[in-house]
C-alpha cells in the first residue's frame, strides 16, 4: 500500500521539483541510505531535491496530504542517524539550496539557504572581518540547515555558544506544508521562543528553508597552546585551574594516549612522544587581554605537571596543532576495523572520575576506548574500538558504549552534547528523562506535527498520540472580540 502511495506521489513531485530532481532508481536511492552514522541504514522510497523554499513547501504539502512520512537531509554528516530515511517515505535533500543570500556586515547578519556549508558562511563573511562562530569538525561539508536541526557546537562553542545562540531567524516549512518564519530576524524574541525550541529539534518539527545567522568580528589575536601530560588526570587538573582562574578560553580540547597514537599514524601530527595526554588550549580576543591570559594559562599548565608546552601564534602553526585533534575520529579507523563515537557530557569537575570509570569499563570488557574530548565543557567523545567481524565484540562494544552513557548520567550529565539523539540514542532518553518529561516534550511535537509525519521515529523512543486539539473554552478577550489581536 505504501508503495502505491509513493508511486502516486512521483508525478506531482516531478512537477514540483523537475524530473531530474526526483530520484526513483533503486541504485541511486541506495546512495542515500545512511548519514554519517553508517551503522543504521534504510533505503528511502523516494528522494526529491527541491530548489526553492516554495518547492519544499509543495513537497511537504503533498506528503501531508498523502499521509507519507518525510525526512530532511542536509550534507548527511550527522552522527546520530537523524537523517536516516524512512523506508516508506520521502527523503527531502537540501543540497540544491546552498546559496548565501545576503551578508550585511553593518548588521552582522547573513541570510543563507539550508544547504550552504557551515564554512561557506564564514568564507562569505571573511572579507568584512567577520565569521560565523559555530564550527563543528565537519564544517567543510556539513550544512547550516543540518546545524540548525542538531544545534551543532564545535570546538569553540565553549566561549561562543552553539548554533542556537547564533541563529536569529528561521524560515521553515511546517509539517503541514506551510511556509512561516520563526523569530523576527533580530534575535530578540516575542512570545514563546519557537526559534530556540526548533533549533536542535533534529528535523522533527519542520524543514528549514532560510536561516538568518549572526556574524561575529574575527578575533584580533589567537594563541594556541599544546601541553603534554603523563596522564589525562594531570591534564584535567590544568583544565580546572584555567577555568578556576576566571578565564574562558575559546577552546580546551584533550586527547588521550590511544587517540594520540591514532592521530600520529594518520596525519603525523608530531605531538610530544610518549605523552599520556595532550591538552590544546586556544585563547582569542583583543591582544591586550589575550597576552595576559596566555601567560596565566601557560603557568597553570606547567604547574599541573606539563611535560612539554608548545605555542602557536600564527595560522600555520595553529593548523599543525589542530591537525591531530581534527583528524582524531577518522584516524582511529586506522587502528581499529570499526568504532562507535560516543557523545556523552559530564560536569567538567567530574571528568577525572568519569575517565577513570571508562578506563575500568574498557579493561573489564576487553574493548579499547580512545578518548577525545571537549574538556572545557565536559563533552566526551569516547571512541569505542572493536572488530565488526566479530559478533561478540560488536555486542560488547555496544554494551560498553551504553555503560559509558550510564556513567555520564550518574554524574548528572547528558547522553548527547552535540551529535543529537536521532535513532541512535532514543533508547537512552528514558534514562535521562522520566515519562512526564518526555510526554511534555512530545506536546511540542504534537503542536507542530500532530500527524507525526516529519522525521518520525527519531529522538523519542515511543511516539505520542496527539489526539484532538480542544478549542477555547473561555469568553474571548476584548481585543480578540474587537478583531485586533489573537490573544492567549
Amino acid at each position: 500500500m505504501a508503495a502505491t502511495t509513493i508511486e502516486g506521489l512521483v508525478p506531482r513531485m516531478r512537477q514540483v521539483c523537475g524530473a531530474a530532481n526526483v530520484i526513483t532508481d533503486p541504485l541511486e536511492l541506495r546512495t542515500y541510505e545512511c548519514d554519517g552514522l553508517t551503522a543504521h541504514r534504510m533505503v528511502p522510497a523516494l528522494v526529491v531535491l527541491p530548489g526553492t523554499a516554495g518547492e519544499v513547501a509543495a513537497v511537504v504539502a503533498e506528503c501531508a496530504k498523502a499521509g507519507v512520512p518525510f525526512v530532511a537531509r542536509g550534507s548527511g554528516t550527522g552522527l546520530s542517524g537523524g537523517a536516516l530515511p524512512h523506508p516508506d517515505g520521502v527523503l527531502v535533500v537540501m543540497s540544491r539550496m546552498r546559496k548565501i543570500l545576503e551578508v550585511d556586515p553593518v548588521s552582522r547578519r547573513a541570510v543563507v539557504e539550508p544547504g550552504a556549508t557551515n564554512l561557506s558562511v564564514s568564507k562569505a563573511a571573511a572579507p568584512f572581518g567577520l565569521f560565523y562562530a559555530p564550527d563543528p569538525s565537519s564544517q567543510v561539508v556539513c550544512s547550516v540547515g543540518g546545524n540548525v536541526a542538531e544545534n551543532s557546537g564545535g570546538a569553540h562553542c565553549l566561549k561562543n555558544g552553539f548554533t542556537v545562540h547564533h541563529v536569529t531567524g528561521l524560515e521553515i516549512v511546517t509539517p503541514a506544508g506551510e511556509l512561516t518564519w520563526l523569530g523576527d530576524g533580530t534575535g530578540v524574541t516575542t512570545g514563546y521562543d519557537l526559534l530556540g525550541a526548533f533549533t536542535g529539534s533534529e528535523g522533527t518539527l519542520g524543514i528549514v528553508t532560510k536561516i538568518v545567522v549572526k556574524l561575529m568580528p574575527l578575533p584580533e589575536t589567537v594563541h594556541t597552546l599544546l601541553a603534554a601530560y603523563a596522564t589525562t588526570s594531570d591534564g584535567g587538573r590544568a583544565v580546572s585551574d584555567v577555568i578556576g582562574a576566571g578565564i574562558v578560553p575559546a577552546a580546551i580540547e584533550m586527547m588521550d594516549a590511544l587517540s594520540i597514537e591514532a592521530a600520529e599514524a594518520a596525519v603525523g601530527c608530531n605531538y610530544p612522544e610518549g605523552a599520556g595526554a595532550v591538552l590544546i588550549v586556544e585563547l582569542d580576543g583583543p591582544a591586550c587581554e589575550v597576552e595576559g591570559e596566555l601567560a596565566t594559562v601557560r603557568a597553570l599548565c606547567e604547574a599541573a605537571g606539563a611535560t612539554e608546552i608548545r605555542a602557536a601564534d600564527d595560522p600555520a602553526e595553529r593548523a599543525v596543532i589542530w591537525a591531530g585533534r581534527k583528524s582524531a575520529f577518522a584516524a582511529v579507523g586506522r587502528i581499529s576495523p570499526a568504532f562507535i563515537v560516543q557523545d556523552g557530557v559530564v560536569p567538567r569537575t567530574s571528568l577525572g572520575e568519569v575517565l577513570a570509570r571508562i578506563a575500568a569499563l574498557s579493561a573489564d570488557a576487553g574493548i579499547r576506548v580512545a578518548n577525545v574530548f571537549h574538556a572545557g565543557d565536559g563533552n566526551l567523545h569516547p571512541l569505542v574500538l572493536y572488530d565488526d567481524a566479530s559478533p561478540a565484540q560488536t555486542e560488547a562494544a555496544e554494551e560498553l558504549s551504553g555503560a559509558i552513557l550510564d556513567t555520564c548520567l550518574e554524574h548528572g550529565g547528558s547522553i548527547t552534547g552535540e551529535h543529537g539523539v536521532g535513532v541512535d540514542k532514543s533508547r537512552y532518553m528514558p534514562k535521562m528523562f522520566n515519562a512526564d518529561d518526555l510526554d511534555t516534550m512530545q506536546l511540542v511535537r504534537c503542536a507542530f506535527d500532530p500527524a507525526s509525519l516529519c522525521n518520525p521515529g527519531k529522538v523519542f523512543p515511543t511516539p505520542r498520540l496527539c489526539g484532538e486539539v480542544p478549542g477555547h473554552r473561555r469568553a474571548p478577550h476584548p481585543a480578540v472580540a474587537a478583531g485586533l489581536a489573537e490573544i492567549f
Binding site: 553593518v106 524574541t189 533549533t199 567538567r348 492567549f488
Partner: protein, 433 residues
C-alpha cells in the same frame, strides 16, 4: 448563594490541602487591576504540582507571580482565580562553581543569586533588577545592556523544571552547558509570561566576574542622529569585544544622544581597549564628546519610568531609519518619546511619560509601525518588530500589543497543547494581529 459559598469553600479546602500557605486574595494581590480569589505560596515543586493539579480539577484560572515586577506590563488577565506566589521558593539549590553552573528555585531573587555567586567570583550575566525573581526574568525574557554579549535569559538557561497547567512536573535540559538531548522546553517557557505553566526551578550557565569594567561614552548633538547611529555600528562591529553597546536619548529631537559602551576584562586590558574604543566612537562620524569612566553613566540599563514602553527591534544597519521614524512618529502624535536600549544588539525602547493621553500613545504606536514597516518587514523575511511591552490597557487593546508575530499560529498550537483550558494567565499573550 449558598451553593456558591459551598463551592468556594470546597475549592479553598482543595487548595489548602495541596498547599498549606493558601489565603484569600486581597486588593494588594491584584494583577493589572484583577483581584484573585486565592493566593497560594508553594514551598516546593511537589507542592506547586499539587496546587496546579487542584486548580485544574476546579477549572481555576492561574497567574504565576514572582516579584510581580512584570505583572503590570502587557494585557491584564481576563480572569484570575488563583495567584501562585513564588516567595517561599527562593533558594539557590546548588552552585557548582567548578562547573560554572547554578540551580536555583524560581522565586530566588536576582540579588540573592548574585550575592551567592559573587563569593566564588562568578555571576549570572544578566542585567535584571535585584528584586526580580529568576522565574520572572525567564518568563518575561527581559535582558539589559549586556544582552549584546551574553544574550537574553534563554541564552543562559540550561535546565528548567516547570509544572504544567494540569499539574504534571516536567524537566528539560540538565546541569551541563553542552546538551542537545530532547526538545528544549526552557526555550519555550522563555518569554511565555506564565501562559504555558509555572516555572519552579531553573539552571543557568555562569560567567566569571570581570576584574575590571570601564564605560566609554560618546555624546552627540541632538541633530547628529546619523553620527550616533554610526558610532553604535562601529562599536558593535569592533573586535574589542564590548559587553554592551547602548544608546540613550532622553527626550526626543532636542536632546543629545549618548552612545555607551561597556568593556569588561583585566584592568590593563580594559584601559587599552577603552582608549581604542574612544577613537572608534569619535572617528565614526560627527564630533561627539567622548569620555571614559569606571562607573556607569546615568540611567544605564534603566527604562525611564513610564507607562508606555514600545520595543523596536531592527538590523543595526537600519538604526538611522529607526531613529528618524521615532522622531517622525513622535511629531505626528504630538509626543516626545524617551529612547534607550541595547541598540548595538538591535533593540530600542521608546517610552512615553505617564501623562501621555491615550489617543496620543495610540497614534504614536500606529505611526511608528507604519513608518517602520519597510524596515522591519524585509522582502526576504522579518527584520525586526514593533511591540508594545507596557501601556494602559486601553492603549494596548486599541493599538494592539503586537504587529505581525512570526510563527503566531504555531504559538497558538503550542498553547493548545500545554494549556488546553486556557487557564494559565488567560489573556496575557497576544499571538499577532
Amino acid at each position: 448563594m449558598d451553593t456558591e459559598r459551598a463551592v468556594v469553600s470546597q475549592i479553598r479546602a482543595a487548595l489548602e490541602a495541596a498547599c498549606s500557605a493558601t489565603r484569600d486574595g486581597a486588593a494588594a494581590d491584584s494583577v493589572a487591576g484583577v483581584t484573585p480569589a486565592f493566593v497560594a505560596s508553594p514551598a516546593s515543586t511537589a507542592e506547586a504540582a499539587a496546587l496546579l493539579g487542584a486548580a485544574a480539577t476546579h477549572d481555576l484560572t492561574v497567574v504565576p507571580r514572582g516579584a510581580g515586577l512584570g505583572l503590570g506590563w502587557g494585557l491584564p488577565p481576563s480572569s484570575c482565580d488563583l495567584v501562585v506566589d513564588m516567595a517561599l521558593m527562593g533558594d539557590v539549590i546548588e552552585h557548582a562553581a567548578g562547573d560554572l553552573v547554578a540551580r536555583v528555585q524560581a522565586g530566588a531573587t536576582i540579588g540573592h543569586l548574585a550575592s551567592v555567586l559573587a563569593q566564588a567570583g562568578q555571576q549570572l550575566a544578566l542585567d535584571a533588577p535585584p528584586d526580580a525573581t529568576v522565574g520572572g526574568v525567564v518568563a518575561t525574557g527581559m535582558a539589559g545592556p549586556r544582552r549584546f554579549r551574553y544574550g537574553a535569559p534563554r541564552d543562559l538557561l540550561i535546565g528548567l523544571t516547570a509544572v504544567r497547567a494540569d499539574g504534571v512536573v516536567a524537566h528539560s535540559g540538565g546541569k551541563v552547558v553542552k546538551n542537545v538531548a530532547g526538545y528544549d522546553i526552557g526555550k519555550l517557557f522563555s518569554g511565555s509570561q506564565g501562559t504555558l505553566g509555572l516555572i519552579t526551578e531553573a539552571t543557568f550557565r555562569l560567567h566569571p566576574l570581570p576584574v575590571a569594567v570601564v564605560y566609554v561614552t560618546a555624546e552627540f548633538g541632538s541633530s547628529d542622529r546619523a553620527g550616533a547611529a554610526a558610532a553604535v555600528a562601529a562599536a558593535a562591529g569592533s573586535a574589542l569585544v564590548p559587553s554592551a553597546v547602548e544608546l540613550d536619548w532622553p527626550g526626543g529631537s532636542s536632546r543629545p544622544l549618548r552612545v555607551g559602551v561597556l568593556l569588561e576584562g583585566t584592568a590593563a586590558g580594559v584601559a587599552e581597549r577603552a582608549t581604542r574604543m574612544s577613537e572608534r566612537l569619535g572617528g565614526a562620524a560627527g564630533s561627539p564628546i567622548v569620555a571614559v569612566s569606571p562607573t556607569a553613566p546615568p540611567r544605564w540599563g534603566q527604562l525611564p519610568s513610564s507607562s508606555t514602553v514600545v520595543r523596536t527591534t531592527f538590523w543595526v544597519a537600519k538604526l538611522p531609519a529607526v531613529l528618524d521614524a521615532l522622531v517622525a512618529a513622535g511629531e505626528e502624535a504630538g509626543v516626545r518619546p524617551a529612547v534607550s536600549g541595547p541598540a548595538g544588539a538591535g533593540a530600542l525602547y521608546a517610552c512615553l511619560g505617564p501623562h501621555t493621553e491615550d489617543d496620543a500613545a495610540v497614534r504614536f504606536i500606529a505611526a511608528l509601525r507604519d513608518r517602520l514597516t519597510r524596515v522591519t518587514q524585509g522582502s526576504a523575511g522579518p527584520r525586526g518588530s514593533v511591540v508594545v511591552l507596557a501601556a494602559p490597557s486601553s492603549v494596548l487593546t486599541t493599538a494592539g500589543a503586537y504587529g505581525p508575530v512570526p510563527g503566531a499560529a504555531l504559538m497558538r498550537s503550542v498553547k493548545d497543547q500545554f494549556d488546553p483550558g486556557y487557564r494559565m494567565f488567560p489573556g496575557r499573550l497576544a499571538g499577532g494581529s
